[in-house]
């Protein structure tokens, strides 16, 4: 008897959430799904949420964020929800190939008339518009633009080793001897996806923008000799990295540069948010940044966007959210803490300082070559990029460049069928 009483007592508070879930399905809710839980990104999202709550009172806001820098864990959860026709009201997606795949899978609603009615297409940067439009229809509102081809470093470490930031990947490799002597790591790495981003920046630096773009639209075969040569450079770059002691995500990866135990790290400009906002480090003094070797005048681009999923429970609230996301104020506020740039082209560079001012100038320069990021969904859709990740796993654990190229190429051909 006693035992039964105990169980009953334990069951009552435990049942509460279940009952609440049954009865409290709020009519006026907004659920936003993202993978922004780390320093910098979490604050950026919080800014948008705050603006939304001030503007649209009475909406019950629900922040569903699944941790993991590259979003690989989050995307898995999201896919299950989409497959079960149980989408959030809006979810984070990368424009380009990843978003087009959602369109092909028929899980996104067409936002063309919404975008045109609000004249968002006139104010967004043409590169982002191009990557959110498929067959004349638009499917997402980009909130920011990120740059992936950036090499972050600790100026005092370079000074001590008496080297300048490298102009080519070969330069970087040759600097290794000096860093090694000082018992420093030349290049810090993070989770598996950071190796993919490193790969794309090496390809970009070695092959340049035009060939790089063609790798992803079928215009260039991966098995061509210049690609394989670039892949071999990548293998050499890995050799001077701390891959064996890789950090578990991009923040601890940057920590090594910040602490001065590593010289460089290839990280997108979310690094800026972490270093400047979360860690309060000073630009040019505590940290500095250049484009990755060989990619001057190129902008390896990705953009976070929000969508309207088909069957979203509160589409009207979603559109309210998208208006906040698209607003000039929202984009500035968001980028200031996240380290990104606004996806709009009508934001003056003077809104920003330090790294962001430098970056903003290049982004708005019409001569800059904008190319899509591979690691962040702009260049390759999930089906192909899963196979690329598979092949990269083999390549980075002792595989051959030639085999990697052949696998990526054949996976591309299969994904086109």
């Amino acid at each position: 008897m006693k035992r039964r009483g105990f169980l009953a007592a334990a069951a009552v508070p435990a049942l509460a959430p279940l009952l609440a879930a049954c009865s409290g399905d709020s009519k006026n809710q907004l659920e936003i799904f993202s993978w922004w839980t780390g320093p910098g990104e979490e604050e950026g999202l919080a800014k948008l949420i705050k603006m939304f709550k001030e503007k649209y009172k009475g909406v019950d806001f629900k922040n569903s964020a699944v941790a993991g820098g590259g979003g690989d864990k989050a995307k898995g959860k999201l896919a299950a929800r989409l497959a079960s026709h149980n989408p959030p009201d809006s979810f984070q997606a990368h424009v380009g190939a990843e978003m087009f795949d959602y369109v092909d899978n028929k899980v996104l609603d067409d936002l063309t008339s919404f975008i045109k009615d609000n004249k968002f297409n006139d104010v967004l940067h043409p590169a982002t518009v191009k990557n959110m439009t498929q067959k004349g229809k638009m499917y997402a509102i980009p909130v920011d633009v990120h740059r992936a081809n950036l090499l972050w470093f600790n100026p005092s470490v370079l000074e001590k080793a008496n080297v300048e930031p490298p102009k080519t990947w070969e330069d970087l490799i040759s600097q290794n001897a000096k860093f090694k002597k000082a018992k420093l790591i030349t290049l810090a790495t993070g989770a598996q996806w950071t190796l993919l981003q490193l790969l794309e920046t090496v390809l970009l630096g070695q092959l340049k923008a035009d060939s790089y773009r063609k790798l992803f639209n079928g215009g260039k075969d991966w098995t061509e000799s210049d690609v394989v040569a670039a892949l071999n450079v990548y293998a050499d770059v890995l050799k001077i990295s701390d891959m064996k002691h890789h950090a578990s995500d991009w923040q601890p990866q940057l920590d090594k540069v910040d602490k001065g135990t590593a010289a460089y790290a290839v990280v997108g400009d979310w690094a800026y948010a972490y270093l400047a906002t979360a860690k309060k480090r000073k630009y040019k003094e505590d940290y500095d940044v250049v484009v990755t070797p060989g990619s001057d005048g190129m902008f390896d681009f990705l953009a976070d966007a929000f969508t309207l999923p088909s069957g979203a429970p509160h589409p009207d609230n979603c559109k309210k959210w998208l208006k906040v996301v698209a607003s000039k104020e929202g984009q500035i506020q968001f980028s200031l803490v996240k380290g990104s740039l606004p996806a709009r082209k009508d934001v003056d560079a003077s809104e920003f300082k330090d790294y962001q001012a430098w970056n903003s100038k290049q982004w708005t320069d019409p001569k800059t070559e904008v190319v899509p990021s591979l690691a962040h969904g702009a260049a390759a859709g999930p089906a192909w990029s899963t196979k690329i990740t598979d092949a990269l796993g083999e390549f980075t654990t002792g595989g051959k460049a030639k085999d990697f190229a052949a696998k990526v190429q054949s996976a591309y051909e299969k994904s086109q069928k």
Binding site: K77, D104, K183, A191, Q192, H246, A383, L392, G398
Partner: protein, 296 residues
Amino acid sequence: MRRIRKWGPGLLLISPSLVLLAVFVYGFLGWNIRVSLTTWQGINPSYDSAGMKNYSDLMDDSIWWRDVQHVLIFTLVFVGGALLLGFFLALLMEKGIRGENLFRSIFLFPMAVSFIATGIIWSWLLDNGEGSNLAGINKLFSAVGLNFLENDWHKADSSWAISAVALPAGWALSGYIMALFLAGMRGVPDELREAARVDGAGEFRVFWHVVRPMLWPTVMAAVVMLMHISLKTFDLLYALDYNSPKLETPALYMYRDITDGYYYASGATIATVLVFGIAVIIVPYIWYTMRSERRS
């Protein structure tokens, strides 16, 4: 009529369970095989037939074979290690020692901890930082002068890196094996041992000739339990280093396949092969257990 009256209520009592298990175990296993014969790649289901293509593709897939190699290495090291350690611990405690309950509890408690928590805790213990970043077990080794034992654990540059996972897995399950052996050893009737002792046999000979032959069923039970756990291991690897190509096994490959690239058909193929791999071990064991039960 009499038969129904006789067996009817019994069947009624277990039929809810039987129906549920028929659907959830066998129905779903069949459905999974069906998915493995389709072309389903994408968020939404598609059941266009692909014949055996997914299976032949899998046999040509180097990632699959790499992952099979990983799980075999892990199984070898983990099953062997946990078996030896469990046996050794049981041997130490066999004859009853002071504070036996306390010892047994300490060796067994890791089993009550989830693999996720175990993985998170051990990912820090198996840290492979160097110099001022030296941490975890490596730091202990260095503190007691055993520097040569320091290593990169599951991040090592070797296809055997996954064998480092046998440490957390063994930590979690060796106590279980100890308990099995302890029960097995104590199931040997004392009269048999006494008889041997009267014949002048030393303790070692008593163990070797009397106890050891009677432990085979325990060894088999332990091996089968450990092997099927090892083939299924998912959470521990997921928590230790998600997406690391060095730690991927078929169980993780299947999950990554369906979540990253929506390769449902090929994921179902991997899962089907995995079921058959486990069935090869489990079915004979269940059959053997049932047969010996009927005999006794």
